[in-house]
């Protein structure tokens, strides 16, 4: 009896040790599945995602291996058509496997809450900032302040439409490319001219639906110089997939230079993939389509790129 118990304890410990190692390995891999960390928020995000991937691996691998073991070693012998042991339950075990997941999800939810609170990305109708009743900010591994230098906030107006993005900077400079000064807090005011759209920059790990008749404030801090892709994330009709723009994160000096330069240009129509495609509709595909909502005319802006967005692959 004793020896069996020791063997069981040993096997289980080995099994758990193996699962733990595998989970840590996956948790280590997880951030590499994500785009570059171009915003302060993305660091918080990747950490949370990595932890959840680790926990998930533990559970999935654990259950799969147990089942696999059963499939390999607990099959009925060929002519054995008898029954297995008549075990109907075990209250202690059932209580454990109710309470442990309960504790786990409460912990995940609380931790996610803190991350979200730290990101402070605002969003719709947050006139009063509701404070976190279970506040434990000190427990966070990456306090946002560390990665968020207190430079002046840059306010930019964003308009989404079928199918274009237009950005309006202070002094009424307009562009179809989003330029942002690195390490500054950015505050966007999101508007839509027609349907729902989604403001989504994967490298920032941030997304907010854009809603007609409503201005939504949205905040974040870019921390990495480079060119990233903005995608429309909420399905917006025919040319939804082509509704993209480049996001250029640059040093404050480059940003100011760009802004000053753009201000001097007279507004011209920017290249707009949706209307270009609409105008030569049915040339490209094998099967003709149905009537579409016509795209808005190409935006007339100060800084008007004449080609498709060209950010490098993430």
């Amino acid at each position: 009896m004793r020896t069996i118990n020791i063997r069981a304890v040993l096997t289980i410990s080995l099994f758990v040790a193996f699962l733990t190692i595998a989970s840590f390995w996956v948790a280590g891999q997880a951030p590499s599945w994500l785009p570059p960390q171009a915003s302060a928020e993305s660091k918080l995000y990747d950490e949370l995602f990595s932890i959840l991937s680790g926990i998930g691996t533990f559970i999935l691998l654990g259950i799969t291996l147990v089942l696999l073991y059963a499939v390999l070693f607990q099959r009925a012998a060929k002519y054995d058509d008898g029954d297995g042991p008549s075990i109907e339950g075990n209250t202690a075990i059932e209580i454990i496997w109710t309470l442990v997941p309960l504790g786990l999800v409460i912990w995940i939810a609380t931790y996610s809450y803190q991350i979200y609170d730290t990101m402070a990305i605002r969003g719709p109708v947050e006139l009063v900032h509701l404070h976190n009743p279970i506040e434990m900010k000190s427990a966070l591994a990456v306090p946002l302040d560390e990665v968020k230098p207190q430079l002046p906030t840059e306010e930019i107006d964003v308009t989404a439409k079928q199918w274009a993005w237009v950005f309006r900077y202070p002094e009424n400079v307009t562009s179809t490319e989003l330029h942002l000064p690195v390490d500054h807090r950015i505050r966007l005011a999101l508007h839509s001219d027609d349907v729902l759209h989604g403001f989504y920059v994967p490298a920032f790990r941030l997304k907010q639906d854009v809603i007609p008749n409503k201005t939504i404030d949205f905040e974040f801090t870019p921390i990495r110089i480079g060119k990233y892709r903005l995608r429309d994330s909420l399905y917006s009709g025919t040319y939804f997939a082509a509704n993209q723009a480049d996001v250029v994160v640059e040093s404050a000096e480059d940003y100011d230079r760009w802004l000053a330069n753009a201000a001097k240009q007279t507004p011209t129509p920017a290249f707009n993939p949706a209307s270009a495609e609409y105008n030569r509709a049915s040339e490209k595909t094998l099967v003709r389509g149905w009537k579409s909502v016509p795209p808005a005319p190409p935006p007339v802006v100060n800084f008007a790129p004449k080609q498709e967005p060209s950010s490098p692959p993430a």
Binding site: Y45, A76, E88, P212, Y235, T238
Partner: protein, 562 residues
């Protein structure tokens, strides 16, 4: 010895008459026999499964290359809208209602559903829904192109200006499907409450029946919200009211609340019966009682309750304030608890048993693993900060296909194989079944695993073209998609040929415990010669006790026992 009883009954009743189990014409009549209706549902739904699958393969064809070059974008958008709508409203819901229809009266020892005519009407609305959906391909402007959730304002845009357009037909189809489901819900709930055999107390009722009850209760509380939303959408679209139209002062986000108030619980309408199938299949092929049966049974109802309070997790990136995001994150996570309890109970049922790896068992076990995967990504999505990045990307597509294909379709297959001998009186071919399982498993992982990665990298869902960085994952997914298409062939071959010329099935080929196995295969019109009196709980494997009064053998393989 196997089919003698059937014939005896037939002779006694002076066959043939329209409802007789050997008269195939009855499937084309307004039959009120729940078994006929069940099979009508299942076969009709399967036809739409193939149609929906065909649409998805055209989509996967388009997505083999980054550019939009196979079909026009409007066609692509119509394809994903119709794919989703058909798969949900014409395949998953109806096939599960079909299986439930077939099984519930048999499992509770009733002669039929509570309202047999209503049952037939519910079924015959399904072809109407199907015709409306398919007809929308023929109207000017084509089918709806606003996705299966039909969010305004896109769903209100109607570029042709016609009054009869794809979106209107879509709303009508959904409304009729809703009517059908509500009638079904009333029928199931009444049947389960009122028509259980003598002696079948709640804790002697099979877990499958519990799960059907839990699922159908959701239909009753949820569908009114969806129907209200659909009616308002229809009015906005046709007579120009302004519930959701922003240019007339409406609020498009309100629609999302109506929609998800039902459509989140709706995912449990689909998954709960599959949980029920798992709970029936595992004990039979592991030869062990369902571990923690009472908890498993009650947790179905708990899921019903909790799932009513989580819908905003579909709107975390939408027009929802922070406090709402946080509140619904907590409730969403809570759903994982009763669900997790079930998963552990199934694993414990299998563990230490004497496993028989029949096709049904393989599908159920595969479905269980897929479901665990989906549950994990589900909890990730439930975490607001995580969801903000992956919401509306292929990560979500991957999550719900692991549930809907990986768990629900697997569970449906498990159920169809398991009860095939009961339904048809024939055995299926095990070898073909295993080929089917292997192809389906490989196809599911090849198709849906890569989508997690493209989603994490930032590929939005519903795009007809994408950036080259996502190409690898999409090529893999397309290959998996085509493999899944192929995987249905051995299944169809197996079902058709077995039904026509398979070996005759005994009453209880798997030596299973349950009232449905005590009657003939297929069961007579009235199910039981005599209504059984239940004397023990449903999963007495290893105890060799009779389930009902006057039972000759504890686990009869065949012969008449009722």
């Amino acid at each position: 010895m196997t089919n003698a009883p059937t014939e005896a009954i037939d002779v006694a009743r002076q066959q043939p008459y329209p409802g007789a189990p050997d008269n195939w014409k009855r499937f084309f009549t307004f039959s009120t026999d729940h078994k006929v209706i069940g099979i009508q549902y299942i076969v009709t739904a399967f036809v739409f499964f193939l149609i929906g699958g065909l649409l998805s393969m055209i989509m996967r064809g388009e997505l083999v290359t980054p550019e939009a070059n196979l079909v026009d974008r409007t066609i692509y958008n119509a394809l994903f809208t119709m794919h989703g709508s058909i798969m949900l409203f014409l395949w998953t819901f109806p096939v599960l209602v079909g299986i439930s229809n077939y099984l519930v009266p048999l499992m509770i020892g009733a002669r039929d559903m509570a309202f047999p005519r209503l049952n037939a009407v519910s079924f015959w609305l399904i072809p109407v829904v199907g015709i409306l959906m398919l007809a929308s391909f023929l109207v000017p402007g084509g089918p709806s192109q606003s996705g299966w959730w039909a969010y305004p304002p896109v769903s209100l845009q109607n570029p042709t200006g016609n009054l009869i357009n794809g979106q209107v037909l879509w709303i009508l189809a959904i409304a009729i499907s809703g009517v059908s489901s509500i009638m079904g819900g009333v029928n199931f709930v009444t049947t389960i409450f009122r028509m259980r055999a003598p002696g079948m107390t709640w804790f002697r009722t099979p877990a499958f029946v519990w799960s059907v009850l839990a699922a159908q209760l959701i239909q009753l509380y949820g569908l009114p919200a969806l129907t209200a939303g659909a009616v308002m959408l229809l009015l906005d679209l046709t007579v120009g009211t302004s519930f959701f139209a922003p240019e007339r002062g409406g609020n498009p986000v309100l629609y999302q609340h109506f929609f998800w108030f039902y459509s989140h619980p709706a995912v449990y309408v689909m998954v709960l019966p599959v949980f029920g199938i798992f709970s029936e299949v595992f004990p039979v092929y592991a030869r062990k009682p369902l571990f923690g049966y009472r908890v498993v049974a009650v947790s179905s109802v708990l899921i019903t309750v909790v799932s009513a309070t989580v819908w905003v997790h579909h709107m975390f990136a939408s027009g929802t304030p922070g406090w709402m995001r946080m509140l619904f994150m907590f409730t969403t996570m809570l759903v994982a608890v009763p669900t997790g309890v079930k998963v552990f109970a199934w694993v414990a049922t299998i563990w230490g048993g004497k496993l028989r790896l029949n096709t049904a068992m393989l599908f159920a076990m595969g479905g269980l693993v897929n479901f665990v995967f989906a549950g994990i990504t589900g909890v990730m999505l439930g975490s607001v900060p995580i969801d903000i990045h992956v919401n509306n990307t292929y990560f979500v597509v991957a999550h719900f296909h692991y549930v809907i294909y990986g768990a629900i379709v697997f569970g449906i297959y498990a159920g169809l194989y398991h009860w095939f001998p009961k339904m048809t009186g024939r055995m299926y071919y095990e070898g073909l079944g295993k080929v089917h399982f292997a192809l389906t498993l490989a196809g599911t992982w090849l198709c849906f695993l890569p989508m997690h990665f493209s989603g994490l990298m930032g590929m939005p869902r519903r795009v007809s073209s994408y950036d080259p960085e996502f190409a690898l994952w999409n090529v893999l997914a397309s290959l998996g998609g085509f493999l899944l298409g192929m995987s249905t062939l051995p299944f169809i071959l197996n079902m058709v040929s077995s039904w026509i010329q398979g070996e005759k099935a005994p009453n209880n080929p798997w030596k299973a415990i349950g009232l449905e196995w005590l009657t003939t295969s297929p069961p007579p019109v009235e199910n039981f010669e005599e209504i059984p009196t239940v004397i023990s709980p449903p999963y007495g494997y290893g105890r060799n006790e009779p389930l009902i009064e006057n039972q000759s053998e504890a686990v009869p393989a065949d012969g008449v026992t009722t």
